[in-house]
Amino acid sequence: MDRNVAQERENDDVNLHESGKSDGSILSNVNEVPQELLFSQLGIELEEDHEMQFENLPIEMLDAVFRRLCNPKDMLHCRQVCTQWKTEVDFILQTDPTQSVRTKIGSIEQLRNLVYQPSSPSGNPFPSKKLRYGRFSSEPMEESALDKLYQSFAYVSKRFGHQVLSLQYCVIMDNRKSARQLRHIPTNFGNLEELCIYLRGLSAAVQSHIIKAFGLPKPKNVNDVYFPPVVFEMKPGDTRSPMELGIAESLRARNSFFLEDNQPSTVPQLQKLKSLHIFSIDSPTIVDGFLERYGSQLEALEVDSSSICEGKYFATHQFLKLKSLKVYMASRDLISPKSLVSAENLPGLESLTVDFAVSFSKITLGQLVTFLDELPRTIKVLHVSVELEWVKISDEDQARIGSLKMFPNLTVLTISSTFLKNPTLLERLLSRIENLKVLKLELLTRGDIRKELEQEDNTVCEVMRRIFRKHPSLVDVLLVRNDFTWRLLINEYSCGEIRRYFVEDRSDIDKDCKVEFVDLSMVG
């Protein structure tokens, strides 16, 4: 292919390079033009030391560079370089929800640092306005230190609460102060947009503290209060077993609070709260309470499957603003008898993550099809982490997958890589997603992925070619790992690679399905 460039004098009378023939590119190759000749003939003096300073770069370009930094440590280094960089980095940390840097207060030393160090010029000790408070680590900590840490939350919240936009708070079941101190959140964190509550153990007492602290409605029927068995240490002379003691204690706590009359709440509403994450299994009482009080303003929700399956509220109400839903430890209950995640209750949902894999729940193809059929068609990103029971595939299910309602908005789909073993089914599924751009096939197997992939490489490439041929919108197919499952199961395996399939030229797909490894850390 000819590549031509011409540079003309501004007055048009001298062509430095005649064009000759061209196929539509620049008229003659700029590389071939001696630079000295080019500019001397134009009468332009090239500045020998023409060097631009980085500080002259407009703020939006600085922003573009900083946002590309993958490692938060690099981001933090940048805010130490100069005041302009600090201002820009802080802005990104505070406004970009994907930035994960947060200030951590999880020990007495960190607490001391926060309280006794002079505050920064802006008076804000939280660069990202994100705070993580409490003892998240399972390493032992002295009871007195733990008490002090949680008692100090009152002071920290009064002094700094209004500056925090995102709060992660850990409640420890054995430390009642950790649950009681939650009451400072609605009063002092008026600007809070995101709240994550981690519950290390759940008891009736913890549930009652949370409900009181946030002014959540109590369940109308006391029997709806989830009643986790709590094991207590036996006291001398007590003839009851630890389990019996625990049940008695839980009953006492439940009855003393949940049987009281419902009083109208005087706890202020967190008006700006739009993202809620409750990390605890079996907490329908809490989740139902939060959904009843905050459901109409939530845009993002992350909970475990049992909390919404066993609750009453999620299944019976609409969440008009909810755009993102993550359900972890998902079980079959989410699907039958009627999918909880449906177009009826989530009419504006754009992103859904459902992780069946962590709870080791296998589902049948028929259940998967039922689940997919109910989903709102507004979804743009769908991540279903599941291992299917491939032995139970009926002809009827195979036919149903090809007649699913179309997903017109879906552009990113993650499903199990085991679909590769049944390419016809995979193609039928993809035929229902006309605008798919990225297909992520998730590896859930526990074997040596690399060996497995190498053995199947030719077969997989052939499947990929077929997929690319039939789906013109598709840009990439990525083989990815379910990170959560892998961390949980195989700590010693630290595969840093995934496999990416793509085509550069669609006119030649049959020959040109390319494969490369990509650093896993680069993939969002």
């Binding site: 590119s25 700029v30 938060p72 690099d74 100069c82 660069p127 990113v412």
Partner: protein
């Protein structure tokens, strides 16, 4: 073949095919505006880029020429498909193209790519700058970018302390 004349801030004129020029969002808009306002459909558009000097404009055109057959990426490609830029890959030609440039030139290229709306070039130049930050200490970053600390009093120490309390989520 339809041509367009693109003139740099220091007066150098580049005669470029319209097909190639239209791979820049900015030039495409200018050409279309010219077509709408011109009575003569054969007239050759002339576009002055007052913010980009010849040396930089030449590099942009060189990059466009090399990548003339790439798919044109929408400006918000990554938001749409959930992938990072790194996944888009960088060719050996791109690496050779950028290798001899000092940071000053790269920064001018970033500005030019942004102004002319050439997303692919913007991505690789920003990535190069990013690589000058990744894994370096604060002093090394200052040296690489020829920047001096302008913190007053205990501001720098305070910033360092704030960073010490930070963790990745």
């Amino acid at each position: 073949m339809a041509l367009v004349r693109v003139i740099s801030s220091d007066g150098a004129a580049f005669l470029v095919s319209q097909r190639l020029a239209k791979r820049s969002g900015k030039l495409k808009t200018e050409i279309e505006t010219f077509r709408k306002s011109s009575d003569n459909s054969e007239a050759q558009p002339e576009i002055r880029i007052v913010t980009i000097r010849a040396e930089i404009l030449r590099l942009v055109l060189q990059w466009l020429q090399q990548h003339q057959n790439d798919p044109v990426l929408p400006a918000n490609q990554n938001e749409q498909d959930g992938r990072g830029d790194a996944e888009m890959g960088q060719s050996q030609w791109d690496r050779d193209f950028l290798a001899p440039m000092d940071l000053g030139i790269v920064m001018e290229l970033i500005l030019a790519a942004n102004h002319l709306e050439v997303k692919g070039l913007l991505d690789i130049t920003c990535k190069l700058v990013e690589s000058k930050i990744t894994g370096r200490t604060v002093d090394e970053i200052r040296t690489a970018f020829k920047l001096k600390s302008d913190f007053k009093g205990n501001e720098e120490e305070q910033t360092r302390l704030e960073n010490r309390w930070c963790v990745e989520n």
